[in-house]
């Protein structure tokens, strides 16, 4: 499926989704956290889409919002896209887990929880993964300061 066909299908499922192609080599689909898991399930399970391989999951801390970024590929149809969820609540960022759809998400989501402090609803085992359990703060946030371990110039 090429990008145009993908766009049409996704718009028919989720008319509110924002579709962006500029400034990226993939088609970017931006949704809100409450639209995310329903759309993700369709992307994974619909025969024509069949995005079965999540090759990258991460988060970006923008000044006004957090952006969850999911890179998806279909092993069968060979098409790729980026699914994004914009989380406007900077105080208490929450989004649904996708680990029931792609198993790899479970551990990548733990990493995002660890380094960004995003809470994942329904995640089976949401704990810090790289840092100590008693670590204060979320290092990959832009406002994180650590006078001992971080040298800024």
């Amino acid at each position: 499926m090429d990008n145009e066909a993908l766009k049409q299908q996704i718009t028919s499922w989720e008319p509110a989704a924002e579709l962006v192609e500029e400034g990226s080599q993939f088609l970017n689909v931006i949704v809100t956290p409450d639209q995310l898991s329903a759309l993700a399930e369709k992307l994974r399970n619909e025969e024509a889409m069949d995005f079965d391989y999540m090759f990258c999951l991460t988060c970006v801390d923008y000044p006004e919002h957090f952006m969850m970024v999911y890179h998806l590929r279909s092993m069968k149809h060979k098409h790729e896209m980026v699914l994004k969820a914009r989380i406007d609540d900077k105080e208490n960022p929450t989004v649904d887990t996708l680990c029931n759809i792609w198993r790899t998400a479970e551990y990548h989501e733990r990493e995002v929880y660890d380094l960004f402090g995003i809470k994942f609803n329904n995640h089976p085992d949401l704990r810090r993964i790289l840092l100590d359990e008693d670590w204060k703060g979320y290092p990959l946030r832009k406002d994180y300061v650590d006078p001992v371990n971080m040298i800024s110039y």
Partner: protein, 373 residues
């Protein structure tokens, strides 16, 4: 396993044992917390992060030339490919056209690095499963590749040979001859690897049918590299997203169906033959040309998002950059193959014995700094 389960009188209590962080078969600082019922594994919980250095945060303060040099500290056995990923991303974003000479040199170096990584993996796998001779054989042959690297770029492991726009030095005059000598030598030695381990009855019994990953699981868990290809997943980025000179060479993507530890072992051995074939196709006609395209001293990427993937010896290594137009990335993410590969362990190890867990780990070819970043 069956005997224990059938005997209802033998009541056992579940208990936990730490394997690592200093266990020899974890090849680094990785701790596996094993839930055990007698000798049967009920749960594997990897505890990682012992050598987490937050390279992604460091990159937000460094300029793009510096970032290249941080990447080979992650997967140190694929350092050349890691460097290449960042360089390709920068070249792609700034539309820098590198010469054919650079493309061919990078491809030859990548394949040499892959060979050397697989040799070390083979050596360590033998050692993990009790065949110490394999360790000596593997290291003997690997030494020749390291010497070739050293002659051209001065380093044996973390080479830093790639720079945005090209490579740092031209090839050493001896390079072509020494690579040819190595290929001729290793073609006679690789069959010895088969004689020593592949056809060994004990080795076969310890790996065949152990740690089977189905194709669906391999895809869902995001596996990549030889680990996924042994389960029948077509995921070789050199085929699906060719970069450097991979579009002008012919090689076979190694796909095996069984998905057990032995298939993963076999996949890497077969890959070594393919790597040698790629080098042979390129080594005789390395084109003339510049080794470095002109670039600005301070590299600034345009505003936007960039993603670049390369196939390292372990699998799909991805670099995701969000740029705001500055000299440092706004956000940079390294998608490392070992991180995704590790976490399938709990799924496949349930119900097997501790000794089999070592066989599974060995055939995953994990590099711990690549997991922890």
């Amino acid at each position: 396993m069956e005997a224990v389960k059938e005997n209802k009188d033998l009541k056992t209590q579940e208990y936990f044992v730490n394997m690592g962080p200093q266990h020899p078969s974890t090849h680094g600082v990785l701790r596996l917390m094993l839930g055990l019922d007698g000798e049967i594994i009920t749960k594997v919980e990897p505890h990682i992060g012992y050598i987490h250095r937050s390279i992604e945060k460091m990159c937000e303060f460094d300029n793009y030339r510096q970032i290249v040099h941080l990447t080979d500290r992650m997967d140190y056995l694929s350092s050349h490919m890691n460097n290449e990923a960042v360089c390709l991303l920068i070249e792609d974003a700034l539309e820098i056209e590198v010469s054919d000479r650079v493309k061919v040199i990078r491809t030859i170096f990548s394949e040499l690095a892959r060979l050397s990584s697989h040799q070390l993996w083979w050596a360590a796998t033998g050692m993990d499963l009790g065949a110490l001779t394999a360790f000596l054989y593997g290291f003997r042959d690997r030494e020749m590749i390291n010497d070739i690297f050293e002659e051209t770029c001065g380093a044996r492991l973390t080479m830093n040979y790639n720079i945005p726009g090209g490579v740092m030095f031209d090839l050493h005059p001896n390079f072509v001859q020494r690579v040819k000598d190595f290929i001729a030598h290793f073609k006679t030695k690789l069959p010895e690897y088969d004689e020593l381990l592949t056809d060994n009855v004990i080795f076969r019994m310890r790996t065949e049918g152990i740690g089977v990953i189905s194709k669906e699981d391999a895809i869902s868990y995001g596996l990549s590299g030889p680990t996924a290809r042994a389960s029948g997943v077509e995921c070789d980025l050199r085929k699906s997203h060719p970069y450097s000179a991979y579009d002008r060479v012919e090689f076979k993507e190694i796909i095996l169906e069984d998905g057990d530890a032995f298939s993963r072992y076999k996949a890497r051995l077969l890959e070594m033959w393919e790597s040698m074939s790629i080098i042979e196709q390129l080594i005789d006609n390395i084109p003339e040309g510049d080794i470095e395209a002109p670039t600005k001293a301070l590299i600034k990427l345009p505003k936007g998002e960039f993603y670049q993937r390369v196939e390292t010896a372990r699998g799909d290594f991805g670099v995701y950059v969000v740029s705001e137009g500055g000299k440092s990335p706004f956000r940079l993410k390294f998608r490392s193959p070992s991180f995704s590969n590790l976490f399938v362990l709990d799924h496949i190890a349930k119900g097997s014995k501790i000794a089999d867990l070592v066989a599974m780990m060995a055939t995953f070819d994990l590099v711990v700094p690549d997991i922890d970043r």
